[in-house]
């Protein structure tokens, strides 16, 4: 009996995790020529390692401060904590290499910024309205 409960709980957790991951959609300014992006490219771009995609597109990451999409993106796509991501960027800021990427409290604000900013790339939940942006397929 105990074993079946554990199995059920594990399955529920896995479904929840899968659900969280499925919610994240990668969006970009329509001027970005790439139509897809790999997880390693995502990690590279969103940690500031490289701001160029494999097809040559130059991109500018846009971050969210918090929320479901932010949590799912960090755990599912970047495999890092919110603190680790901030540390990554702050190290660049404090060594004089970069500025912090634009960071928004709401997904609507992020979408609005990405629509008007050439090269901008971000992440939102699939249900958030995102007219005027390009959806990148996650490879």
């Amino acid at each position: 009996m105990k074993i079946s409960k554990v199995v059920l709980l594990t399955a529920a957790l896995m479904l929840c995790t899968a659900h969280l991951r499925a919610q994240v959609t990668i969006i970009a300014n329509p001027g970005v020529s790439a139509s897809s992006i790999s997880k390693s490219e995502l990690r590279s771009v969103f940690t500031g390692e490289s701001l160029r995609l494999k097809d040559g597109s130059h991109v500018k990451p846009v971050l969210l401060k918090e929320g479901t999409a932010h949590a799912a993106f960090l755990s599912g796509d970047l495999s890092m904590s919110a603190v680790s991501l901030l540390v990554c960027w702050r190290q660049k800021v404090f060594s004089g290499e970069a500025v912090m990427p634009p960071t928004f409290s709401s997904e609507a604000e992020a979408v609005a910024y990405i629509v008007k900013t050439p090269g901008a790339i971000g992440y939102i939940t699939a249900t958030t309205p995102h007219e005027g942006v390009k959806v990148l397929v996650l490879k």
Partner: protein
């Protein structure tokens, strides 16, 4: 070279002044941090701190402002405060102050007071919130000599060249000048060797760093070389340091929750000291140091790890003399209470006293072993 720094400060000031509208001011970024450490040691006082009596004599803070004027042009400056026992005092120094123009990802130029890209961590070593460690490997990133090693007044050409797949080369080539800091451990070491400067010596710092982001995700390997000279007047003669060589070779692996790195560095230096009316005396140093470190993020807030570092002055003559070597075994943990506040705890078992120890605060002589405990509370934004 001070004119160069001044020019950048003026440029930064002008840029800030030009940002008159609220929208433009909203683009300005301000960041900072502050840390307070508590250090306790056995046998010897360490890093110029009265650590045998449990000391809070290690405080740091920094504030920076950045303005991305255009997509390609950025200006900014960072002020840094440090008090480390008998070093640092209450001085606030300009950590960096520069203009950065990036023509394209493969080519950019920074000029002004610029961080020195050397080894894995030289340019980021004074950003405490960036590390799990309270103290980076002392033989290579000496916290008590940092005021001299961190930045130079000059220019840096840098870029990142994508080579397909995950392959990329990142380079930095620089040339500039520096002046030895008056209030750090380097100057104290000279003083304890009987070398008393009339004014801090200065010199040139050409160098480069080249690192390869390998096809293995998270794995970077690279090398650096800094060449530096120095000259100045002693109270009783002259001081000259012909080109000294400081090469480093390193590797780093950061992937998901795991991080590990290692570095080997050598420091070959000749100090020519000429006391007036006497023959020049040459003091040679051949410092060889390495470290290996690793850690793991156990939860989103807790990380822990360990490192070992080793130093030997191969010119010291007697490798068994504690004054010529230093070995440090370290275990460390960090807990982040939030995105802004963290606590670090660290233990050290040190053998030898080739780096980090001073006669001035160990007047009864140095023991060959020192154990240390450090706690550090930090705030960053």
């Amino acid at each position: 070279m001070q004119k160069c720094v001044l020019s950048v400060l003026v440029l930064a000031g002008a840029s800030l002044a030009a940002a008159q509208s609220a929208d433009e001011f909203s683009k300005l970024q301000f960041h900072g941090f502050a840390t307070q450490a508590l250090v306790a040691t056995s046998h010897n006082n360490f890093l110029g701190i009265d650590s045998r009596n449990v000391s809070a004599g290690w405080t740091e803070a920094a504030l920076n402002v950045n303005d991305e004027v255009t997509d390609k042009l950025r200006v900014g400056l960072q002020l840094h405060y440090m008090r480390l026992g008998m070093f640092g005092g209450d001085n606030v120094s300009v950590d960096w102050a520069m203009g950065d123009y990036r023509f394209r990802p493969e080519l950019g130029v920074r000029a002004g007071r610029v961080k020195i890209r050397w080894g894995l961590y030289n340019d980021t070593q004074d950003y405490d919130p960036g590390y799990m460690w309270s103290l980076l490997p002392e033989p290579i990133y000496a916290v008590d000599w940092r005021a001299t090693d961190l930045s130079q007044n000059g220019a840096e050409v840098y870029g990142r060249i994508e080579m397909g797949g995950r392959n990329a080369l990142q380079y930095s080539v620089y040339y500039g000048g520096y002046t030895m800091a008056t209030t750090d451990g380097l100057m104290e070491s000279y003083k304890e060797d009987g070398v008393n400067f009339a004014a801090p010596p200065s010199g040139k710092t050409p160098g480069f760093d080249l690192r390869w982001a390998t096809p293995v995700e998270g794995l970077t390997v690279g090398g650096s070389l800094m060449i530096y000279t120095a000259s100045g007047n002693l109270q009783n003669g002259t001081y000259n340091q012909p080109a000294s060589y400081w090469p480093a070779y390193y590797a780093q692996y950061k992937y998901k929750k795991v991080f590990a790195s290692g570095q080997y560095a050598r420091n070959i230096e000749y100090d020519v000291i000429t006391v007036t009316a006497q023959a020049p005396e040459v003091d040679a140093t051949d410092g060889r140091a390495w470290f290996a470190m690793g850690g793991y993020h156990f939860t989103s807030r807790l990380q822990a790890g360990a490192y070992y570092t080793h130093y030997l002055n191969a010119q010291g003559g007697d490798n068994s003399d504690p004054a010529n070597y230093f070995r440090d075994s370290v275990a460390s943990a960090r807990f982040d209470f939030s995105e802004n506040i963290y606590l670090k705890m660290e233990g050290h078992v040190m053998k030898g006293n080739g780096v980090g120890f001073y006669d001035a605060d160990n007047p009864n002589g140095l023991a060959s072993r020192t154990d240390a405990l450090m706690a550090k509370l930090g705030f960053t934004f």
